[in-house]
Symmetry: C2
Subunit: 521 residues, 2 copies
């Protein structure tokens, strides 16, 4: 049992979990406690900006490594564009400025001076044209593309950028919504509409594959309705995942921008017949929000659970040393085991192993690694060494469910075991989503499904939500707005997967297919 659980026990509360409150008791608070217990991130002294701590940043590094290889395998190259965007650039695309001018960091001066012992912006350094810190880079990258693209031979242009962006959000939440966040933004230009649409869908597929294969997070691929579209896009596609409070998380988006941004930025080329035409562009992005999605998909009331492919350390070896004279022998054995494991390959990379040789109680160590979500814990003491075996705990199973296994068998099967955990997490998340996804065909049932259960006290936490509803929809934006106002429920996406036509239960009008309705982050 964790030290925090132990200390709670002294107060006669007897919590059975390492994280208090549990998901059922107070899901939003549980989320923050998991982040804290795993040492992933914290709020900074700068409004809305987070500090990503080493264990959290290592998750991001693994996300970057996985996605970057997939981007390169699909022909993209990385580049880097300015942090600042002149106001006049933002103004070029009408819908875009409407969407992004509302919340941004505006740079107005370029120097500080001391006045009456206080540092203030130097009035003489006021910029002629204010700059905004990029909330997204369509306009500034468009300006470069306009210079680079002259002929159809220069197309397609397939660029990605890893960067920080800033959106001045009022209500922030670690990883899910922060003023500054880290992301990648792909920006591509094509000679035809068809090619740009193909790229948009290809990258949506890359995101879905990454979410499912690397993050073990099942997603629904679909298109956004007009109300949820990226400002300036012709079509926005997304991957949507169900969190354990049964709300939807938009985990990645891919936009077909048509010629809107090409016209705004002047991206023109001579086609093969010599005519000057505007290019067709796309953009697509995922962010540190994925870490929030990973946390809420897999973690339990004992803390974080990292899917093995993302785990900063996949195996943690905990030397069990009761007597000082055993210390050298146990540590030597553990170090040799670490080396042997690091020489094995899982999912294309050397297995990541850590020996926790800190001078503290083995039980406390084990609980720390449970809370940090390490997929496999190995406890190794003198008796295990005598038997040339290890004592294994898997994070996808209960904390007390540990099994002895010979060292040779463990090493030989380590990649299989890690993949088993990866698959188990995916299967569990998929079953959870299926369990909480319902086909609903009447307005009454729909409203009942999404109605919040009554709270006893105003201060009670937000209750766990119903889940996803698969319900027909005639596509009317006014109806979607009404439902959003009534229930805080929106169309998360119109799934790409084939579906049967039917009748919109709200209007009685025909509907092409069921769409996914849910509350969302």
């Amino acid at each position: 049992m964790s030290s925090s659980a132990v200390s709670n026990e002294k107060h006669n509360e007897k919590p059975k979990t390492a994280i208090v409150p549990t998901r059922a008791d107070n899901y939003p608070e549980w989320y923050l406690k998991v982040i804290d217990a795993a040492d992933l991130a914290e709020n900074s002294d700068v409004r809305g900006c987070m500090v990503i701590k080493p264990w959290g940043y290592a998750l991001w590094e693994n996300i970057q490594r996985g996605l970057d290889a997939m981007f390169k395998a699909t022909g993209h190259v990385n580049a880097y564009f300015p942090l600042f965007i002149p106001l006049s650039f933002l103004e070029k695309e009408a819908a875009h400025v409407e969407g992004f001018a509302k919340e941004c960091a505006v740079v107005t001066h370029s120097r500080l001076i001391t006045v009456d012992g206080k540092l203030v912006p130097d009035p003489k350094s006021k910029l002629e044209e204010p700059l905004i810190v990029r909330p997204t880079s369509e306009t500034i990258i468009g300006a470069s593309f306009a210079k680079w693209v002259k002929s159809y031979r220069d197309l397609p242009l397939l660029i990605n950028q890893w960067a920080n962006v800033v959106r001045w959000e009022m209500r922030t939440r670690l990883f899910l919504r922060t003023a500054e966040f880290l992301w990648q933004e792909g920006h591509t230009a094509h000679a035809t509409s068809e090619e740009a649409v193909e790229e948009t869908m290809k990258m949506l597929g890359v995101y879905a594959e990454f979410a499912e294969q690397w993050m073990a997070m099942p997603v629904i691929q679909g298109e956004k309705t007009a109300g949820e579209r990226f400002p300036g896009a012709v079509q926005t596609f997304c991957i949507e995942a169900m969190m354990q409070d049964r709300k939807a998380l938009q985990a990645g988006t891919s936009h077909f921008l048509g010629q809107n941004f090409a016209k705004a930025s002047g991206i023109e080329f001579q086609d093969d017949k010599g005519a000057l035409v505007h290019a067709w562009t796309t953009s697509w992005g995922v962010s540190t929000r994925l870490i929030g999605g990973m946390i809420m998909t897999h973690s339990d009331d004992d803390g974080l659970i990292c899917p093995p492919r993302l785990a900063p350390e996949q195996i943690v070896i905990i030397p069990v040393i009761q007597k000082p004279e055993d210390r050298d022998r146990v540590l030597t054995y553990c170090k040799a085991l670490e080396k042997e494991l690091e020489a094995t390959i899982y999912a294309g990379s050397p297995v990541r192993v850590h020996v926790d040789a800190r001078d503290m109680r083995g039980g406390d160590k084990a609980w720390q690694w449970i809370k940090k979500g390490a997929p496999i814990r190995l406890e190794v003491g003198p008796r295990d060494i005598d038997n040339d075996s290890v004592f294994m705990g898997r994070r996808d199973k209960g904390p007390k469910e540990k099994t002895g296994v010979t060292r040779a068998a463990f090493v030989a099967g380590v990649a299989t075991t890690l993949q088993e955990i990866q698959d188990a997490l995916f299967a569990r998340a998929l079953a959870f989503r299926d369990q909480h996804t319902k086909q609903i065909d009447t307005k009454e049932e729909f409203y009942a499904y999404f109605a919040d259960p009554p709270k006893k006290k105003q201060s009670d936490p937000t209750p766990i939500h119903a889940g996803f509803a698969l319900t027909h929809f005639n596509g009317d934006p006014a109806l979607e707005t009404k439902i959003k106002e009534d229930l805080k429920v929106t169309v998360r996406c119109i799934p790409l997967a084939p579906g049967e036509p039917g009748t919109c239960p709200f209007t009685g009008q025909p509907s092409a297919k069921r769409v996914v309705w849910a509350k969302s982050y």
Copy 2:
């Protein structure tokens, strides 16, 4: 001959080089032309900010990969801290604010509104406390360290951050000095002064090793004089390299910050005797400036030369297709060769190979890759295939110096050949530095050495400089200032390497060792 050279020839100018002007004719202009011809970067529409294009960014990715592994091997972990720094944080360290308040991007508003059809900062969104875009992160990271460090058991804290920073430079130059640049900044906290000094020197050593082993750029490790010290540091150490105009480039710095920033940020811990004491901190950084150093160390009048360990592509295969019916056969052979080469390892990584199958003249392709600095070019045509051989050009040799070699021999020796090129570049750069480094023992000779040769016309380019002078110095800051005013020459560093005591030729006073004097970037 390059296409630009060819087109120049038509104008009867007969340049013999792909880059015009040459280094000798106009070094600053040559530098920009090399960047342009290699497609590394360009100025953006945002004052002082550059766009790093794919070939330039791939160099940065390789620098990151190499350094990041070295940081991790020395026990450091990555994390991420806010882009913005509250003014009050900057004010905490007196020397620091003096150094960085002068040139920075100040964020004063958080929203834009449209007034008279024009987008302007919304007066209602004015921030209570302005934020500055980080020029360096000692103060904002210090605030986190102050929370994280409580006991001596929490130390050392060894953190690195990969990030963008902004310094509002007035005179910018691609890679060497830009308003926004990319860098890494290490920040560490220690329980004792000795440990912090040891860390400072260890990371200086890492930088020197990276510069010499990866970049093939010889550097002098040394300490900065007080005048060149980082604002707020107790001691600043650096690596200094000689560029081909014989000016010095500060390529990396490592700072021992003493307790200055720990006191400013409140980083305190209980030592093993229970006393509350301030930690000892360090910081160290290198930036995209390294790419400027790489360009100016190795490139020649035909363009960029990438040292193999940094080259985005180490080998470029150019199919030579004279008749359309040969096309499939030649491409198939080239693709197979690419695959075979990619299966070989150089310097710990798979060899990076590219087949340039574009539909254009082979000679033009070859010149493009010369200008982009690819270490090895292989030309493969039907006759080479018949002989199972390749025609190899090395970028460290003349463009016409090509040798036939059997495919088997080339593949078997590819790692050796790449290392030969790497070593040759280092040896050439070292010989160049030695040739232009002079021990000078009199004031007269010193002033003559650094005097600019007279220009014929005011518009003539800056002449190539003399080089480094190894000259004794009594350490007087006023004297250093005088020499800087007279000659634009400064002490680049007091070398760490042992030296003999002697006499300062400017004052006749004793000097502990010769120091490195030079003009610098």
